[in-house]
């Protein structure tokens, strides 16, 4: 059965099993491999996308649950002002090492800063604790979020 959803502001229709996780729909059916597979169990955050404004684990989101929803992936994150600032901060601070987790980190950070543009240090660690970085780039992730937060608040003021 064909299922329609919006990905990065574009309407998309896919005709695959309704229980196929959004992660694999993005990677296999929509040719958007920026969203990564890490654990398949919602434990590492590598597959994080933003669904109707909320960061979700796409490996745990059946396509049926994404039907009719508005999805933002790493490929389209800079379309939002917050996403653009997050990506800019990530680039300036050269956050990635291997880079594999970073799409998920950026999506989680974008969702967090969209909801809470000025998170405290504790709110940052709580908000980002679901995203594993095996290279442990956490110190730069913290710095990048602080920089993005400052840029967003500055832009809003």
């Amino acid at each position: 059965m064909a299922i329609s959803l919006t990905v990065n502001r574009k309407p998309r229709t896919v005709d695959v099993e309704a229980d196929k996780p959004l992660l694999w729909v993005l990677r296999e059916d929509l040719n958007m491999p920026g969203t990564k597979f890490g654990c398949g169990a919602g434990l590492c955050g590598a597959c994080t996308v933003i669904l109707n404004g909320e960061a979700v684990r796409s490996c745990q989101t059946p396509l049926a649950d994404a039907a009719g929803k508005d999805i933002v992936t790493i490929e389209g994150v800079t379309a939002s002002p917050v996403g653009a600032k997050v990506v800019e901060a990530w680039t300036n601070l050269d956050v990635p090492q291997c880079g594999y987790c970073q799409a998920g980190q950026i999506m989680s950070a974008t969702a967090m800063l969209t909801a809470n543009p000025k998170p405290s240090a504790d709110e940052v660690t709580a908000g980002m604790a679901g995203n594993i970085c095996r290279c442990a780039t956490y110190l730069r992730i913290q710095k990048a979020i602080a920089e993005a937060s400052k840029a967003i608040s500055g832009a809003a003021a």
Partner: protein
């Protein structure tokens, strides 16, 4: 039931032999196009396009250690171009052309510091020679900068691009004789450069092995024998073949995958999600006889028994340790242990391969060691190594796991069964955690004697590790020359071996990540018994500057002067007083280690409250020679390695084995460190010495582990001698 040997062929006829014609010109979407039309090659690494864009090939695998940026920096420096002109392209595997191309042992810097600069200087020499010829002036009258050659006397200048076609035909200079820059005039080396792939990473562009997508690609998932070294007895794939999207079922029983059998049945189809789901329909029987007795508990019990007996083999013996201990003013003895660990790269093991109709094999592989993989695949499949092309993708974490070739051999076996169709094998997380080349566990019974002056005078270690016939398995050994042995008159290091069915391998800072914990943790106990602190005991034991050769001829000597330099530097940096903590729950610990040619000393401050350990700050002093090539990359490696060490010390849980099988499921029972467990600060200072620069992927990691154990002792009075460190 299918007999294994028959079924391999039967599926071929059934599914794909008559499949759609496909283009073999399968190219990755992310294969970078070379700069502009008709670039001129100057040597094997440098090409210059008409718009003066300089494309530099990065020859080594990028696993996040930054070599795709660092190696071209070395070439660009001596080529004398502006970094903004440089485009970087990943080279394919071709060691005959490019030299060694592995990512392991923190060896990229020491192996390439000179040759990469010579390659850049050689290309520059060809450009200068072309300008000299064109203008009819002596080479010595010309200078270069930012991709231009200048003649000061006449005020003329010309771009490299204008010279490149002529320069490319100039005789190649003798690279051993080509002049290199005075480090004082470096413009690129020593200046921070962000990772060359960072912009593509933050855009989510396909870069990694898992993102490879040659046209017409199929997907494969595997059902692995649950017991490593077990073999495939029989299987029934009738139900699997009825599943949507499944095109083929391929048993993998070929040969011996390096150092252990990894039998499996692969399911191939049009979607990884579909073939992975189809695994539950496979009926399969394995032969695990002889392997199901191996277990974590069993190893521990055997090790305990062995520790009390005499070592089966001597590793290092000097003087008479027992006699010296009998005379010592104080004797300290303690047992240390550490568990098996998986690598848990965040990108699960995967590989894409295409078996071309002419029998040639093409790979898109996240491999740390393509040359070894080439040889292993050739051996297992009985094919010519030269018939393979290996494209190296960016790698979502290596940590030593991808030095092994198993996942490439498995992919080659699958590709052979579906000729003409590229196929990507992808492990799921449980496959990945269970089918690893594990960091082997180990046990040490340490005994030391100190004399009345507080000097360490005798040392014994009975080391229990894994291996056979007197030989430790891969990454299961320790150096006979392990410090402080060579500095003492009376020493006995001995070893006894246990057997395992598991495959073992190199985990970031292999052997060092375990031995540092044991030796520096134990020496902290010795220091306490001697009425001093560990840095003071180290300085006393290191003595005058001298070199102890390594017992491994491939490893560098240990220089006590360089060791002392970082010990003193970190003490100064952290304000180490040697006084014990007087604040309950607050502790400070020290650790030193020399590995991968780097000397590192570290101090940890931590807090213990309600049984929870929080790392507050880590100070690092490092000596990697005369030059830090990319400071922002270096800092990143060191901070990452420190946090990785914290994870090994207190977050990661042992890889458990029961009845032969690894039982780890996912990141629930193999937790990785998270942002909320990260120290507030990892501060770094350098000790610059007049030695050739060495690598940073690994040597920062080992010292932090004993430093944490020693700080916990300081905070709580409790000496923890087994990893992971837990306050029960």
């Amino acid at each position: 039931m299918n007999a294994v040997s028959v079924s391999r062929r039967s599926f071929l006829a059934a599914s794909l032999a008559g499949g759609a014609a496909l283009t073999f010109e399968a190219k990755l979407a992310f294969a970078a196009a070379p700069g502009a039309a008709a670039p001129a090659m100057l040597g094997v690494f440098v090409s210059i396009a008409p718009d003066n864009t300089v494309t530099i090939l990065a020859k080594n695998p990028e696993i996040g250690q930054g070599v795709k940026t660092m190696l071209p920096m070395l070439i660009a420096e001596e080529l004398d171009v502006a970094w903004s002109q440089v485009k970087i392209q990943q080279a394919d595997d071709n060691a005959d052309k490019y030299g060694p191309q592995f990512a392991g042992g923190s060896m990229t810097t020491p192996l390439n510091w000179l040759p990469a600069r010579q390659a850049g200087a050689g290309a520059r020499a060809m450009l200068v020679a072309a300008a000299a010829q064109q203008w009819g002036v002596p080479v010595a009258s010309l200078t270069t900068a930012d991709g231009k050659v200048m003649h000061a006397a006449s005020g003329r200048s010309v771009t490299y691009a204008a010279l490149a076609p002529v320069a490319a035909k100039m005789p190649a200079p003798d690279l051993e004789k080509v002049a290199l820059k005075d480090p004082k005039s470096f413009k690129i080396i020593g200046k921070s450069r962000p990772g060359v792939d960072t912009p593509a990473i933050v855009r989510g562009e396909p870069l990694f092995g898992i993102d490879a997508h040659p046209a017409g690609m199929l997907y494969a998932a595997m059902v692995k024998c649950p017991v490593i070294s077990g073999t495939l007895k029989s299987f029934d794939d009738a139900a699997v073949r009825k599943e949507k999207g499944v095109l083929a079922v391929v048993p993998i029983t070929d040969g011996e995958i390096p150092a252990g059998k990894h039998n499996a049945v692969a399911i191939v189809g049009d979607s990884w999600w579909r073939v992975h789901k189809a695994r539950e329909k496979l009926a399969v029987q394995w032969d695990t006889a002889g392997f199901d007795g191996y277990s974590t508990e069993g190893y521990a019990a055997q090790a305990k028994a062995l520790l009390g007996a005499a070592p089966a083999k001597d590793l290092f013996k000097a003087g008479n340790a027992d006699a010296a201990l009998a005379k010592a003013a104080k004797v300290v003895s303690a047992d240390y242990a550490y568990p098996f660990l998986a690598h848990a790269t965040l990108e699960p093991q995967n590989c894409t391969a295409l078996w071309h109709s002419d029998g040639k094999l093409e790979f898109w592989a996240p491999t740390q060691d393509p040359a070894t993989a080439r040889g292993d695949i050739a051996k297992v499949l009985g094919i010519d190594p030269a018939s393979m092309t290996i494209h190296m993708t960016r790698i979502g974490g290596g940590f030593g796991r991808r030095l092994m070739s198993d996942f490439m051999i498995q992919t080659a076996c699958i590709a052979k069964a579906v000729p003409g169709r590229p196929v990507k094998l992808l492990y799921d997380r449980t496959d990945d955690l269970r089918n690893d080349y594990f960091r082997p566990g180990g046990w040490h019974r340490m005994t030391a004697g100190v004399d009345a002056s507080g000097a360490l005078v005798a040392l014994k270690d009975h080391f229990i590790t894994f291996g056979e016939n007197g030989k430790p398995m891969r990454a299961a050994g320790m150096l006979a020359s392990e410090f402080p042995g060579p500095a003492l008159a009376d020493v006995h290091y001995g070893m006894s071996l246990l057997k395992t069915n598991l495959t073992t391998g190199w985990l970031r800072a292999p052997t060092s990540n375990a031995v540092a914990f044991v030796f520096q943790g134990f020496l902290d106990e010795v220091a306490e018994a001697a009425g001093t602190d560990l840095p003071s005991l180290m300085i006393k034991t290191l003595g005058a500057p001298r070199s102890f050769p390594s017992s491994d001829p491939d490893e560098p000597a240990f220089n006590t002067g360089r060791a002392r330099g970082v010990v003193e530097a970190v003490c100064k940096f952290a304000g180490w007083t040697g006084k014990r903590s007087t604040t309950p729950g607050k502790g400070r610990g020290f650790g030193f280690y020399f590995s991968h040619r780097g000397y590192f000393a570290e101090v940890v401050d931590l807090t213990v409250a309600d049984g929870q350990i929080t790392i507050d700050k880590v100070w690092v002093a490092g000596d990697i020679g005369s030059q830090v090539i990319n400071p922002m990359g270096a800092e990143h490696q060191m901070q990452g390695a420190v946090i990785d060490g914290i994870a090994q010390a207190m977050v990661w849980q042992p890889t458990e084995q029961k009845a032969g099988a690894i039982t780890t499921e996912n990141f629930g029972d193999f937790p990785l460190i998270r942002i909320n467990q990260t120290p507030g600060e990892v501060a770094i200072t350098w000790v610059v010495t007049d030695n050739p620069p060495t690598g940073l992927g690994e040597p920062t990691l080992p010292p932090v582990i004993p430093a944490i154990a020693n700080a916990i002792k300081d905070a709580t009075g409790k000496r923890l001698r087994s990893l992971p460190l837990t306050l029960a």
